[in-house]
């Protein structure tokens, strides 16, 4: 047992995780527990986006550049659902509705994200898959680039470039945990991310569709042979991945107001995580989400805001020099390069 533990500690995964924990402990002791709190909140949301991206990579073999745009879509829908509700609430206050309104907004965003994802698969990827599978990874990647340009500028054209944000979802005094004041929005954002990840996890493990998705990600032909409805599963996967991003966007509306390029940062971060942990690795994406969040928070704390782009990138590049398949290196990379 201890032998295995030591071996794990000296593996790339062990070293990075232990170093992250050390860093977290040091920063917390040095600057205060709010570092941990911030990490947890950012990490949960980053993990949501990254899990969606990893899902698309693993199941559909699509290296999506458009994933951030579903995040953007989530913020947009949540804004347009929540603002009227808020106005209605201001006119006639109600305790229950005040609690439920953000949930409605987030659910609406999730539904829109899922719909948009399914539509993307049906209208764009399915025709492309039918036409040719040659050079699929590169072509689908370029396709998503085009889609991202389209969606960003569609937002600009229809909704304008101004910031569409809200002050807060849940009103009320901030909660105190470990002597840190946490606004209710942040707390709920964290709880939502944990809840969604848990539900997602149980769904993938126990339901028929979840098993079918995992089967497709392991072997597409084999999945077809045992009678899995492949096109249905692909549509469902895309919808699921995009809904996760939209939920993240909607829950973070109070931090990131909706504007055309709001999704880019989420996209960068999701890619950081996915590349860092190795592709198509969903558990890895979860852990990586918190690791990258920690890096970001610590960088902002010690070096200054704005550098949270440079330092994590440099570190990730360093990690990849020594371990190009990612710290939890899976075999998926080879398949992707077929």
């Amino acid at each position: 047992m201890s032998d295995r533990f030591i071996r794990w500690c000296t593996s790339a995964a062990g070293i990075t995780i232990l170093l992250s924990i050390l860093l977290a402990v040091y920063a917390t002791l040095d600057r205060g527990p709010y570092i941990l709190v911030n990490t947890a909140i950012t990490g949960g949301m980053l993990a949501l986006v990254a899990i969606g991206l990893a899902l698309l990579l693993g199941v559909m073999n699509v290296a999506s550049f458009v994933h951030g745009e579903y995040f953007m879509m989530g913020t947009l829908v949540a804004y347009y659902v929540f603002t009227p509700l808020q106005n209605y609430l201001n006119a006639n206050p109600s305790q229950t509705l005040a609690m439920v309104a953000p949930i409605i907004a987030i659910l609406a965003a999730a539904a829109t994200g899922a719909g948009a994802g399914a539509l993307t698969e049906i209208m764009v990827f399915a025709p492309m898959r039918r036409r040719s599978r040659e050079n699929w990874v590169m072509n689908s990647f370029l396709l998503t680039v085009g889609l991202a340009v389209l969606l960003i500028n569609g937002h600009l054209l229809i909704f304008g470039a101004d910031f569409k944000g809200i002050v807060r979802y849940w009103s009320g005094a901030p909660v105190t945990i470990m002597d840190v004041f946490i606004s209710r929005d942040r707390l709920f954002a964290f709880l939502i991310s944990i809840l969604v990840i848990l539900v997602f996890w149980i769904f993938m493990r126990t339901t028929r569709i979840g098993r079918a998705i995992r089967a497709v990600s392991q072997d597409e032909t084999g999945a077809l042979m045992v009678g899995i409805n492949l096109s249905g599963i692909l549509i469902f996967t895309m919808a699921l991945g995009c809904a996760l991003a939209a939920v993240a966007g909607a829950s973070l509306l109070f931090l990131y107001p909706s504007y055309p390029t709001v999704g880019l940062e989420a996209l960068y971060m999701a890619w950081f995580i996915v590349i860092l942990v190795g592709l198509g690795n969903i558990i890895g994406a979860l852990i990586g989400g918190f690791m990258v969040a920690l890096l970001k928070v610590v960088t902002v704390e010690y070096i200054g805001s704005g550098w949270d782009f440079v330092v994590p990138t440099a570190l990730i590049i360093l990690v990849l020099i020594f371990k190009p398949s990612g710290i939890f290196g899976s075999g998926v990379r080879g398949v992707l390069d077929k």
Binding site: F141, G146, L157, V310
Partner: protein, 335 residues
């Protein structure tokens, strides 16, 4: 084969290509193109065209999308601008220094992405680009950050015509260098690596060497373009390193046709002019031109992944008429 044909062959040009270049060269003197704003558009188009050629040199041959292309281009531009502003180095020398440093950066990026393949190398190059852009934004003491760095201009005139000829020349030089290389043995090695690296390695091609060569050269030329950009617009902001810029060149290069070099350049001129027309004509509808960009890229990827060059090769390349054939393909090689 007479001497004229020989020279054309040496430069990898066809009579049709030469005619196109001549048309581009006289364009700024022909109304309505002799107005300054139209010349500015032509310069933008030629800039994108040159970018598409050097971008395609990497993307179309070794099949790695250099997603940090504009970051490296901007790095060259910044080097040149900072040398000119802080040390008073004349822009011409600065541009060369910028090209060299960008080439060095390309060399390092090539080394860095070596162990990754295909799309992952692209994402890695993208991270490098993002880090560079972050640096350019935050190192305010050196680059003045988002405020913009004012740079001396290359020519002492208000006219845009000399700049136009310079960028046209740069475009031609990049094309000739790139096409000479891809039509040599090195080019065949590039293609082999791009199509199947394991097979290429089995055939005795050293992927490390060729990938680094490719990256270095492509980035050197990008740095040259960056220097032009810096000293033409007279102001440099970190925005030049933005991913959106790379996407623009990428779209043109892929709509033009991957692995052709000339496709992107041929498409860039009508395309960029049309885009500028849409943008300035329908200024109350912001983003419309980029929507067309996105739609076109999606459409090309689904229905015609080979782009314009592939279409040209399949339908126009081999006409029955001999004179026309000469015009499009140049003199036939001696058999």
């Amino acid at each position: 084969m007479n001497r004229f044909d020989k020279v054309l062959k040496q430069l990898n040009l066809t009579p049709a290509g030469l005619l196109g270049l001549i048309i581009l060269a006289v364009l700024p003197f022909v109304p309505p193109f002799n107005q300054e704003y139209l010349i500015r558009w032509l310069i933008a188009a030629a800039f994108i065209a040159a970018g598409a050629i050097t971008f395609d040199f990497t993307a179309g041959y070794i099949n790695i999308v250099n997603f940090g292309y504009y970051a490296i281009l901007g790095f060259g531009g910044y080097t040149s601008a900072i040398l000119a502003v802080n040390l008073g180095v004349p822009p011409w020398i600065g541009i060369l220094c910028g090209a060299l440093t960008a080439g060095l950066l390309g060399f390092l990026t090539g080394l860095l992405t070596l162990r990754l393949r295909g799309i992952f190398a692209a994402v890695m190059a993208w991270f490098v680009g993002l880090a560079l852009m972050g640096l350019a934004t935050k190192m305010v003491w050196l680059t003045r950050g988002p405020l913009g760095l004012r740079t001396p201009r290359l020519f002492d005139t208000a006219s845009n015509v000399p700049y136009y000829f310079l960028i046209l020349g740069l475009m031609l030089v990049s094309y000739i260098i790139c096409s000479r290389i891809v039509s040599s043995r090195i080019g065949i090695a590039f293609k082999a690596i791009g199509q199947n690296m394991d097979a290429a390695r089995t055939s005795g091609i050293n992927p490390t060497f060729y990938r680094i060569i490719n990256f270095t050269l492509s980035c050197t030329l990008a740095g040259l373009l960056g220097g032009f950009y810096a000293h033409y617009y007279g102001i440099l902001t970190p925005d030049i390193m933005h991913t959106a810029k790379t996407v623009e060149v990428l779209a043109v290069a892929y709509i033009g046709g991957r692995g052709s070099l000339w496709g992107g350049a041929a498409v860039a001129f009508p395309f960029i002019l049309a885009m500028e027309l849409v943008r300035s004509g329908l200024s109350n509808l912001p983003g419309l031109n980029l929507i067309i960009y996105g739609l076109l890229l999606i459409f090309v990827m689904i229905y015609y992944p080979g782009g314009f060059a592939k279409f040209f090769d399949a339908h126009i390349r081999h006409p029955k008429n001999r004179a026309l054939n000469y015009f499009i393909n140049g003199a036939p090689a001696k058999t």
